[in-house]
């Protein structure tokens, strides 16, 4: 851990960190800095090229694209945050319980994970939306259901590894009950690699939200969301390609930033993890 801080800082990590932080800040304060109302239709000013009033131009309904992108950051990243919180909570409790208790409970919980892991995530998400109906909430549920098992498995593996440490044995000798052993000795070792993994997955999950919304299964128009914006712009791709470029660029940059950041975190905290987790 101490040696990790001595790793050289690379420019791309700093840039990725700044970009990721920028997206998070945008998502937080979005409406305060947006120059226009993202929903305000102004048909007199449709398809405007970038200018001083509309910095990135306007779309087919005359809505300000920059404002929609900023509002979309909140929709996309906000839902990713909810997904991550739920996935981490489920993964930590199921994986933690499985690893700490072991035995039959472990076997049952892990077979349950296997069931979820056998279905490709996007297919499971499509199936869930088919069953639950479209909408952002269902997208969130679908992504949580298709991702939590990964986290449970990884948490369980980490717990099993940490449980064999001598200091856990020493804690048992010191009379620590299982709950204290988990909270004080095991969990602090689980969190850093899990944080790296979660950061890596932010981009991946943002793609899911945007992708499902692009297909018309998630966020519904006119709510500003990057995937929805691409879908809206699809019809005008040949005449107004910039309309696709802006939200596409936003998605690409966000995914890139969080991936790079997650990579850096992983390299620093635990280079041996995740290698076997083929995506």
């Amino acid at each position: 851990m101490i040696a990790a801080h001595r790793l050289p800082r690379s420019g791309s990590i700093t840039a990725a960190g700044a970009l990721a932080a920028g997206f998070v800040v945008l998502a937080l304060v979005g409406p305060l800095v947006a120059p226009h109302d993202p929903l305000a239709v102004d048909l007199a000013h449709r398809f405007e090229a970038p200018n001083l009033v509309h910095l990135l131009g306007t779309d087919h309904l005359g809505r300000d694209i920059l404002s929609r992108l900023i509002a979309g950051a909140r929709t996309t990243l906000g839902s990713v945050l909810v997904v991550l919180a739920l996935v981490l909570a489920l993964g930590l409790s199921v994986g933690g319980l499985s690893g700490m208790v072991g035995g039959r409970l472990d076997a049952v919980l892990m077979r349950l994970c296997d069931v979820f892991l056998t279905v490709p995530t996007f297919v499971l998400a499509l199936f869930m939306i088919g069953a639950l109906g479209t909408g952002l909430l269902n997208v969130v549920v679908a992504i949580v259901l298709s991702h939590w098992a990964w986290y449970a498995r990884i948490v369980r593996g980490l717990v099993l590894e940490l449980k064999t440490r001598d200091y856990v044995l020493a804690a048992r000798i010191a009379g620590a009950p299982p709950r204290a052993i988990f909270g004080e000795h095991v969990l602090p070792g689980v969190v850093p690699p899990l944080a790296a993994l979660a950061t890596l997955d932010i981009g991946h999950m943002a793609l899911h939200v945007a992708g499902l919304s692009f297909l018309g299964l998630g966020v519904q128009p006119p709510t500003p969301e990057w995937g929805v914006m691409i879908n809206d712009a699809r019809a005008f791709f040949w005449t107004r390609p910039l309309l696709v470029v802006w939200p596409g660029l936003a998605i690409a940059l966000a995914v890139l930033a969080f991936n790079r950041l997650g990579d850096a975190l992983r390299d620093r905290l635990d280079p041996t993890l995740i290698a076997g987790r083929g995506l």
């Binding site: 440490r165 044995l169 020493a170 000798i173 010191a174 004080e184 000795h185």
Partner: protein, 262 residues
């Protein structure tokens, strides 16, 4: 008088890996051992003789396949929550590898307070006082309390492990090769401190070691473990009279104390 800690017919076997059904490999069989209050017993045997497994069984960290461990006459398996807390507070153990036995993220003060938090009902202020006293007992500066294990030397961390085991004023401390890994001056230092503790508090010790010199220096009697069985036992004074081949082997394995020495 009932013994402080006793093993009756202890047996343990570990399952072997592999696809074919292989019978579990027996590690311990038919172990009978009793440790009285204030007594110092050395359990010696070469690597792989089952010493550490026996220590774990005696500590109740693993369940034996056969036999029982008795704490003041009561079987460990039958202890209720309160009884188990009393047992843990009374019987402590120092692990073999000092650095890996402490959580690298915890400061020394927290490490030493852990048994106090779980096994005693001392209020936080008294816990801090006890931690300071423990550091003094093992000869460490009071400032060590705010250090991380990584900032201390191996010998210092070993003394932290010892201090933790002494925190609850146990009646018996099991030292699992805990002294053997130190260099000779440190061994002497630690053993002197333990002997002092014995004199003042009547603490019993079970010294698990492969080093017969340590056993001779510190223990009242020696028990020899070989291939999972107790094969020989003898008091240390007047002279250590061991006859079993496994014991002879350990006796003969002692290096001369210096060049040209006996």
């Amino acid at each position: 008088m009932t013994a402080l800690l006793a093993a009756q017919g202890l047996g343990k076997a570990y399952a072997q890996g592999g696809w074919r059904r292989v019978p579990p490999r027996p590690v311990l069989a038919g172990i009978d051992l009793a440790i009285a209050a204030g007594e110092c017993v050395a359990l010696i045997g070469r690597s792989g003789s089952g010493k550490s497994t026996l220590a774990r069984l005696l500590m109740g960290l693993e369940a034996p396949d056969e036999g029982t461990v008795l704490f003041r006459g009561a079987p460990l398996a039958g202890l209720d929550r309160g009884g188990l807390t009393t047992f843990r507070a009374a019987i402590q153990m120092v692990l073999q590898d000092p650095l890996s036995a402490v959580n690298p993220r915890h400061r020394v003060g927290r490490i030493l307070a852990e048994p106090l938090r779980h096994l005693t009902d001392l209020p936080p202020a008294s816990r801090a006082a006890r931690v300071a006293k423990l550091l003094e007992m093992v000869g460490l500066d009071p400032e060590a309390e705010s250090r991380l294990p990584g900032q201390l030397s191996g010998g210092q961390v070993q003394r932290i492990g010892l201090a933790r085991a002494l925190a609850t004023r146990p009646a018996l401390v099991i030292l699992d090769e805990a002294v053997s890994n130190l260099d000779a001056p440190r061994q002497v230092d630690i053993l002197d401190r333990l002997a002092d503790l014995r004199r003042r508090h009547g603490t019993a010790f079970l010294l698990v070691t492969h080093d017969i010199r340590l056993a001779r220096r510190f223990a009242d009697r020696v028990v020899v473990l070989s291939e999972g069985r107790i094969v020989d036992a003898a008091p240390c004074r007047p002279g250590l009279a061991l006859s079993h081949p496994a014991a002879r082997e350990l006796l003969d394995a002692v290096l001369p104390s210096g060049p040209g020495g006996p």
